[in-house]
């Protein structure tokens, strides 16, 4: 099976049903994308498929098709991703950081689609990403900060 991840082509020999998360982490060794729940409830595994944020833990790799996969390791090369990463550091959003690859992927997809999101749009895009450390108030600020940069 051929995959395009962060702009590089990969060929993997895995079952179609294997969720993309485990292909990325265990087979490709890109461990920035995290496992948190396995049931699309936490967002830790969020990656982009053609720029849209999706939960890779529930996405059979066979369903990816030709779509471009972007992970936390590659999102800094997109304009929105770079802005979000910078805002995250400027505002010190991150605590343990484990949920943050997913948060950053969701936030960058939001910003790319909606350059000036309001609170409702932030909720709509970010409510699927849990953070146990409780960085939500700064995530909200971080997205607004990035939108202004």
């Amino acid at each position: 099976m051929d995959l395009m991840v962060n702009g590089s082509p990969y060929s993997v020999d895995v079952a179609d049903e294997m969720p993309l998360l485990w292909v990325v982490r265990d087979v490709l060794g890109l461990t920035g994308t995290k496992f948190g729940c396995g049931i699309a409830q936490c967002g830790a595994c969020t990656v982009h498929l053609d720029g849209a944020a999706v939960r890779s833990c529930q996405l059979p790799v066979g369903a990816v098709g030709g779509r471009a996969i972007t992970t936390i390791e590659g999102v800094g090369k997109t304009p929105a991703g770079a802005k979000i990463q910078k805002a995250w550091l400027d505002l010190e959003v991150i605590q343990c950081g484990y949920c943050q690859p997913g948060q950053i992927m969701s936030a960058s997809a939001l910003l790319a689609a909606n350059p000036q999101p309001d609170d409702a749009a932030i909720d709509a895009a970010m409510a699927g990403n849990l953070c146990r450390c409780g960085t939500y108030v700064r995530i909200r600020e971080g997205i607004k900060h990035a939108a202004q940069s």
Binding site: K34, G76, Q100
Partner: protein
């Protein structure tokens, strides 16, 4: 915020009850501190190939890179930064040259001055380590100066340092730390060094950027779960769904037929599937036909657990604190009594329990993230029946600790599995396994009685019934039937309460217990602060005025109370919310972890009884601060963590097993349920207190009191039960 605070430090280990009560008893999670700067890196996995170690904490490379081995582990609370701030301040270097390294198990060098074991928790890092780390930094600097002085044949006193460079102004020359480190390392460390005057601080007390976050923003940070070893296999496991149950029989055939599955390891109490990737292992586990031997706990049910603790609370308690004769004074007069109950809770950090192990050649290598490297080493050694010296622990960043990684059950299970596997194996728990096979925040039952005269409390009886964590975790801290963590927060109240009696009854069920962010005070402060509101309302007093009237001996408590009531506009109505017509404002105050906090929460309650917290205001006096922004972040995070608990958190048992399993049924607050959180810090020159946990503790009674205000119903068993406050229709 005070400009140049002088952080307090604990010079000597002090395991007295008082010290533990203050700071340490609370272990769970986190704590405070912090930095500014361009990225340094937190990569412990890079071996130090060249350079010189000046002491246990400081290693200088020829290129002037300084690797700091940090005794307290980073799990989000910012301690890599704050500890680095202390070391770098005294060493006179910038944080941009700093790399943070995880400390190996080494009791002598990295054992906590408070716990006397190597542990990170209880919101103690700043109070425990600020002193020793500053001293280590200052000592190393003195040695570098001495070395430069010897090199140049001048007096060290005439030399100055700045950002890693030693200058001899008189001689017009300069030399870098990297150039003299070798010579310095051969010197005898001076017995006494002078610490920097706070007026000259560039790092301590300043908001500087964290050193661990740049790699976390790009996916480069390596957590335990990200470890990759050559030839590594992947495993997942399942232990008996019934507490203490064993394996009856296992039919492996279908699991072994799953593509990628290599092996099934069946132990007495658990089964693990070893595979080429985690997904295959999980599929294999799902395909196993396991017959369990559930054992004696198969009938365990939540109602029984509640009934049992209620019954136990009637027994004889051990005295944790006593002044005067409270019982006699509680025989007559205007009396109040209430009971509060708190559920079992799971930590549910975002990083599930995991551990990579390679057992070979009579020894064992472990890669994991642990709050207790020494316990991890000892646990692994015991599981294999080998000397601890044969166990290497490679610690990692932790994706949320909250007390979960103060236990080493995950390490021990992984080691037991790895003993049957050729080569390294990474054992990753499913979320369900993580939630169902934890050690839990204990069930607590608090009964309070008070006598009130002229609006003042004149007698007080607080009896706590619950499991003891200290009994297994730090046995010296469990003496004569008293668990000092369980009663933490009860004996040194900010309030004047007259005669008092504090009692503890240890009550264990089959459910194993562990520290959970906020630890003992989660129960005690929740109960005390709920009770305060109950008494205030029953005596027709405003909850703020009632508390103020009891604070004659605690100016710091009064300070935070005044600040929070001012910022939250106490006395006005909570704002309207589309979420629900009933609204209320609640207050809480506490003095634990060496810090004073007061909080006001606003809630809206729907007709159906669902609660939305709309605003939280916190005032904190945490003494001296290393990194103000990290203090704020820890309070924000702590409050959020506490919100999940008070609104939704419960682990319940049925048929001997945990009913919850994942975030669909163990609910965590989401961003769209968040109130605004305002944090106000009181400038303070007092000794540093902890701050990783207080936010979690204080917000729970504040919210419960707000619900009380909104509905007229005081809920006494957490979490909030919508059916009890639904509007009668």
């Amino acid at each position: 915020m005070r400009r140049n605070p002088e952080p307090a430090f604990v010079d000597k280990a002090d395991l007295s009850r008082r010290a533990l009560l203050r700071g340490s008893a609370a272990l769970a999670g986190g704590f405070l501190i912090g930095i500014e700067l361009p990225p340094a890196r937190a990569r412990a996995d890079e071996p130090l190939t060249t350079g010189i170690r000046l002491n246990a904490f400081i290693h200088v490379a020829p290129d002037d890179t300084v690797t700091l081995t940090l005794p307290a582990v980073e799990m989000g609370q910012g301690v890599y930064t704050s500890q680095a701030q202390c070391l770098a301040e005294e060493l006179d270097i910038g944080l941009d040259k700093v790399i943070a390294a995880h400390a190996p198990p080494d009791q002598a060098n990295y054992g906590s001055p408070i716990f006397k074991i190597q542990a990170t928790g209880g919101s103690t890092t700043t109070m425990a380590w600020t002193g020793p780390l500053r001293k280590a930094g200052a000592t190393a600097r003195a040695m570098l100066l001495q070395a430069a002085a010897a090199e140049w044949g001048v007096e060290a006193a005439g030399l100055t340092t700045e950002n890693g460079v030693i200058t001899d102004k008189a001689g017009g020359r300069a030399i870098r730390y990297g150039e003299v480190a070798d010579r310095a390392a051969r010197l005898q460390p001076p017995a006494d060094v002078k610490l920097k005057d706070p007026s000259r601080f560039r790092l301590i007390g300043k908001t500087v950027h964290r050193i661990d976050t740049p790699d976390k923003a790009t996916g480069k940070a390596v957590y335990g779960i990200d470890v990759m070893r050559p030839g590594m296999k992947y495993a997942t496991l399942m232990a008996s769904p019934v507490l203490g149950g064993k394996i009856g029989s296992v039919d492996q055939s279908k699991a072994l037929a799953v593509r990628g599955v290599r092996q099934v390891v069946v132990l007495e109490d658990l089964v693990a599937v070893i595979a080429d990737n985690t997904w295959a292992a999980m599929q294999g586990l799902g395909a196993l036909a396991i017959e369990w031997a559930p054992g004696p706990n198969a009938g365990l049910a939540q109602a029984q657990l509640w009934a049992d603790i209620e019954k136990a609370s009637e027994g004889a308690g051990v005295v944790a604190g006593k002044e005067g004769d409270a019982l006699a004074r509680l025989k007559d007069g205007t009396l109040f009594e209430a009971t509060y109950e708190l559920p079992y809770l799971a930590h549910a950090p975002m990083e599930v329990t995991n551990c990579t192990v390679h057992v070979h050649d009579g020894g064992c290598e472990v890669w994991t993230g642990t709050q207790v490297p020494g316990y991890a080493q000892a646990g692994a050694a015991k599981a294999l029946g080998i000397d601890p010296g044969r166990v290497t622990i490679n610690n990692h960043l932790i994706g949320g600790g909250f007390g979960r990684r103060l236990e080493v059950d995950g390490v021990i299970k992984a080691v037991r599995i790895a003993a049957h596997v050729q080569g390294p194996v990474k054992v990753v728990w499913s979320r369900e396994e993580d939630i169902r096979q934890q050690l839990y925040r204990p069930l607590y039952h608090d009964r309070l009685k008070a006598r009130v005269e002229n609006g003042k409390i004149t007698a007080w009886h607080h009896r706590i019934t619950g499991g003891s964590i200290m009994a297994h975790w730090l046995p010296p801290a469990f003496k004569d039937g008293l668990d000092i963590d369980a009663v933490d927060g009860t004996t040194e109240l900010p309030y004047s309460i007259g005669d008092m009696l504090i009692e503890y009854i240890r009550h264990e069920s089959a459910v194993p217990v562990a520290f959970w962010r906020g630890v003992g005070p989660n129960g005690s402060i929740f109960s005390i602060e709920s009770f305060m509101d109950l008494v205030a309302r029953k005596t027709g007093t405003d909850p703020l005025a009632f508390r103020r009237g009891l604070l004659d001996k605690s100016p710091r408590a009064l300070g935070v109370l005044n600040l929070v009531s001012d910022k939250a506009s106490w006395g006005t109505r909570a704002p309207a919310s589309p979420f629900g017509a009933r609204r209320g404002r609640g207050l809480a105050l506490m003095n634990v972890f060496g810090s004073y906090l007061a909080a006001v929460a606003d809630v809206a309650v729907s007709d159906e009884g669902d609660v939305r917290v709309t605003r939280v205001v916190v005032a904190a006096d945490v003494g001296n601060v290393i990194n103000p922004d990290i203090v704020v972040a820890q309070i924000q995070g702590g409050v959020t963590f506490g919100l999940s608990a008070v609104l939704y958190g419960k682990i319940t048992f049925a048929g001997g097993g945990v009913e919850q399993g994942n975030f669909n049924d163990y609910r965590i607050v989401r961003i769209d349920e968040m109130p605004s959180i305002e944090v106000h810090i009181v400038p303070s020159a007092e000794n540093s207190g902890g701050i990783g946990e207080p936010g979690t503790v204080i917000v729970q009674p504040a919210v419960a009191n707000a619900v009380f205000a909104a509905t007229g119903v005081q809920l006494t068993r957490m979490p909030i039960d919508a059916t009890l406050i639904a509007k009668a229709t």
